[in-house]
Amino acid sequence: MSMQFGYVSPEQIMKDRADYARKGIARGRSVIVIQYAGGILFAAESPSPSLHKISEIYDRIAFAAVGKYNEFEILRQAGVRLADLRGYSYDRVDVSGRALANVYAQTLGTIFTQDPKPYEVELVVAEVGQTTDADQIYRITYDGSVWADSGFSVMGGAAEQVGQYVSEHFTKGASLEGSLRLAVDALGRDTDEPRQLATSSLEVAVLDRERPRRRFRRLTGPVLDSLLARGGSETSPQPDSEGSGD
């Protein structure tokens, strides 16, 4: 137990912890998770090609995180272990994103209230379903709160600004190219002056509804370039043009 001089109200303690965690999370760049007609797209600006913010958890489930790398990496590995253990004990179809989101929420909640310092992370657990309506996107914050986002989810960095841009331009059932272009444009809107992001600094992956068994696939190199080029025409300011590609 840490030594406490005088009385500090529980409200104050929680507020201090929340401020601390929030500051850490806002320090990095944003991650965008967005639904498209054929599945769920993940996009992030990442300085390293190998330290991933976006990863596969199980057949239909992927994980995205912002904040402190070592902390969300612990949670990611724990998620893979939990999912693999469930799938091995029962069956592959019995592994669900909702259960995983619950466990993450419980874990982060416990760490937030009991550990010396809260985790400076925010996570998304997304599960691709048979149809767009069956897709699930859960966002879990540093204190264990869970949000079931519909359509898209933005976290980390200037999440509010980036999220604003996405919500203005998001259309349900858009093409992969269109959604990718929107996500990349949105990632560049974290400053007042929009930035152009190089393909090499992007980390992009999809949960592709049509793939057999393991739906997760990273999009890199030439594949990513050509998708971005094809999505280029859809960045015009009218939001209506967004879904025309599918």
Partner: protein
């Protein structure tokens, strides 16, 4: 004493940085789920589970084919006519098993998961040798069960991205791992199958040729070994055939295999002992 406030959150073993092996994680967290950890020591278990029989594998130019018959036996009885013994291990490898079927199928499930788990945790795939060694380790862990009558003998084959060729690995029950060249077979009918493979193997086989070779070898195994199932034309049950090459693993669809099987069977109507190899 359970810390009530931590119920529902992840136990410490999940959150500890450490192994990228699923088997080792199971050993720490849920040892009761490991194959073979649920039976009393000392009992003879040999007659309790069906016995899966013959597997053959042969390389061809740029890949490898693995095929297995569909029969499982219990003593003199046929336990199952359409058992599957050849499986995808990961994107570039196939694994099959002969021996105690119940345990073998569970070992294969664990092996598949072991490779996938490593891939997800580490973000990269194991080398072909690494995968072969991992399987060896798992078979060695089963030695106790093998001594109680539940021996499992796997066959592992994959495409080596480094050399651009197919490679075959065989195992003994102690986990000994041996790289085989050109072709190999395991299981009760393996002696007969290997004889056929010897005579039919060529250095310039194509994938389709290699499939025909494995189907011929399985036919010869079934011809002389009662525990190996021949092609069942009435029930349309054919060998499971897997091809692994630079495009990855794929199981040949039943139609394609059926066609090759029918050609082989038609050939046997004329010459029941199969094709003749040149004398010199």
């Amino acid at each position: 004493m359970v810390d009530v406030s931590r119920i529902g959150s992840l136990p410490a073993e999940f959150l500890t940085a450490g192994t990228s092996s699923f088997t080792e994680f199971l050993r720490q967290h849920s040892p009761e789920l490991l194959p073979g950890n649920r039976v009393p020591a000392g009992a003879d278990l040999g007659g309790l589970t069906p016995h899966a029989t013959t597997l053959v594998a042969t390389t061809f130019v740029g890949g490898v084919v693995m095929a297995g018959d569909r029969r499982a036996t219990m003593g003199n009885m046929i336990a199952q006519r359409d058992i599957q013994k050849v499986f995808q291990a990961d994107e570039y490898s196939a694994v099959g098993m002969a021996g105690a079927a119940g345990l073998g199928l569970e070992l294969i499930r664990l092996f598949q998961l072991e490779l996938e788990h490593y891939e997800k945790i580490e973000g990269t795939v194991l080398s072909l040798e690494g995968k072969a060694n991992r399987l060896s380790h798992m078979i060695r862990g089963n030695l106790g069960m093998a001594m109680q009558g539940l021996a499992v003998v796997p066959l592992f084959a994959g495409y080596d991205l480094g050399t651009g060729s197919g490679r075959i690995f065989s195992y003994d029950v102690t986990g000994g791992r041996y790289e085989e060249h050109q072709f190999f077979s395991v299981g009760s009918g393996s002696v007969f199958a290997r004889g056929a493979l010897k005579k039919l193997y060529r250095d310039d086989l194509t994938a389709d040729d290699a499939i025909a070779v494995t189907v011929q070898a399985l036919y010869d195994a079934a011809d002389d070994d009662s525990a190996t199932g021949g092609p069942d034309l009435q029930r349309r049950i054919f060998p499971i055939v897997a091809v692994v090459d630079d495009a990855g693993y794929r199981q040949r669809d039943e139609q394609a295999v059926a066609q090759i099987v029918e050609e082989v069977v038609a050939g046997r109507d004329v010459r029941p002992d199969g094709p003749v190899a040149p004398l010199r």
